[in-house]
Amino acid sequence: MIMNADFINSAEPRALIVEDEILIAEELKERLSRLGFSVIAAVDTADEGIAIATREQPDLVVLDIRLRGEKDGIQAAREIREQVDVPIVYLTAHSDRLTVERAKATEYDGFLLKPFQRRELQTTIEVAMQRRAIRARQKE
């Protein structure tokens, strides 16, 4: 399925996956490419994610909240957003209030629960990219 071209600049939007569960990252890769994305990288630590996101400035970052290492996804989102404005979609296996509250305190464009449903993934990503497009238009 090809994304609505209204809010996609290049022919193939580029996505970055930050997820420490490698098989879930694989599924995401597959699903995102079916949605018309080219996945530039799938990494499993916050630091790698921050480095690639700020260098490559992808059109979408899908970010797991629980990650290997010191930093978690929420911290990574904060650092990425300080430097570049990219749509960020959180991914988590738990929907407890504390995590949601902590995530809410950062800027993000979508929230996905694992295991995700096909439609859910698509609409969440669409909404996230739309939000980014609106922000970009407001800045002009």
Partner: protein, 385 residues
């Protein structure tokens, strides 16, 4: 007929009441007894005499007289108030602090001290010095008794304080271990859910390696089944006690997920739900969730063949004695009339049948007008609620 609950009344007094009554009796005998035995005592105490009231000593100077009166009255009242508070404290804490004669000794000592100060006020105008002397002797005895008894009770009081401290420590340890247990349980639910998510990913990845629609559908069915199990753990993770979930909330979330999974391109299907809260443990919620998943998925697959759409109605009733019923209806084509649920070879129905057996429930299909209702009846045990 039920017998009235046994409670301590006048005829079966509690040990505390018994001791208090005993103390009051002794007190009355000690104070009234001497007057009864020796009536001349009253004359000696209160009869006319040649002594001069204290006011004479103070040369009836109002400033001095009233300073004494005020000070002594205040001291007396304060002593009285302290002993009343002490008595109230002992009464209130009678279940927590073991009754002890030391409290009574203290009370008596304080009241007596107050009495001597009140006597000071009286003797300013009335020279009842013999009675005043008697009150002083009584105070001296009470003070002496308390002074002697108190040191012997130091170990008991210290033990009491130690016990209070120990129980506080035990409470803190218990709370900490409770918190650790909770954190561990959360972690377990998170891990289980994460692993189930990985299984879903595996099914998905495998499904991308075939073009055969039927095979893809099989993997999707498996993914949905695992998803229905993962959802139980997600709910458990967010639940208060980490052991039970509200099946109404779960059913709503699952139905919505299945709805979004089946979404467009497909017939528009509305979800109508009327769910009463049913609290249950994970061992019941997992099979119930799997059954519900089959029923809703089945309604989607076979209920709406002619892209017109329709609605799926979910009803959950929480009846008496934990007997619950779950109804899944669809407004679509429904189930073939000649379908025998006990012989059907479809995996979905086989799963429903087996899982119903596992939860000791009953399952049947009802066809009213154009509506097909699948009904599951099961019981939530008391220990699970």
């Amino acid at each position: 007929m039920s017998a009235p609950a046994a409670s301590p009344d006048f005829f079966t007094p509690s040990p505390f009441t018994k001791r208090l009554a005993y103390a009051i009796m002794v007190g009355t005998v000690v104070t009234v007894g001497p007057f009864l035995l020796w009536p001349a005592l009253a004359v000696l105490f209160f009869g006319p005499n040649d002594y001069l009231p204290h006011a004479f000593c103070y040369l009836r100077r109002p400033a001095l007289v009233w300073t004494h009166v005020t000070a002594d009255s205040l001291i007396g009242l304060a002593y009285l108030a302290i002993s009343v508070t002490l008595a109230y404290l002992v009464y209130k804490a009678r279940r927590d602090i073991p009754f002890h004669w030391i409290f009574l000794a203290f009370g008596l000592f304080i009241i007596a001290c107050g009495g001597t100060h009140f006597m000071e006020v009286v003797t300013i105008w009335q020279p009842v010095y013999v009675f005043s002397a008697a009150v002083k002797i009584f105070t001296a005895l009470a003070s002496l008794m308390t002074a002697v008894v108190l040191p012997f009770n130091v170990p008991t009081i210290l033990a009491l304080a130690q016990r209070a401290k120990t129980s506080e420590q035990v409470t803190a340890t218990l709370r900490a271990s409770e918190e650790r247990k909770e954190a561990l349980l959360r972690e377990v639910h998170h891990r289980v859910k994460n692993n189930l998510a990985v299984i879903c990913s595996l099914f998905y990845l495998q499904s991308t390696h075939t073009r055969d629609e039927e095979t893809v559908q099989m993997f999707r069915d498996m993914e949905n089944r695992v998803h229905s199990m993962a959802l139980v753990h997600e709910r458990l993770y967010g639940s208060e006690n980490l052991a039970r979930i509200d099946f109404a909330e779960y059913a709503q979330a699952l139905a919505q997920d299945i709805l979004s999974a089946h979404g467009s391109p497909g017939p528009p299907v509305q979800l109508k739900s009327d769910l009463e809260p049913v609290i249950m443990g994970a061992d019941l919620a997992v099979p119930c969730g799997l059954i519900l998943n089959e029923l809703i998925s089945n309604a989607f697959k076979h209920g709406f063949p002619d892209s017109v759409g329709g609605e799926i109605r979910l009803t959950l009733r929480n009846g008496a004695d934990g007997k619950c019923s779950l109804l899944v209806e669809d407004s679509g084509a429904g189930i073939p009339e000649d379908l025998d649920i006990n012989r059907s070879k479809s995996l979905g129905l086989r799963l429903v049948r087996s899982l119903t057996q596992q939860i000791r429930g009953s399952f049947d299909l009802v066809r009213i007008d154009s509506r097909t209702s699948a009904r599951l009846v099961f019981t939530v045990n008391d220990h699970e609620r």
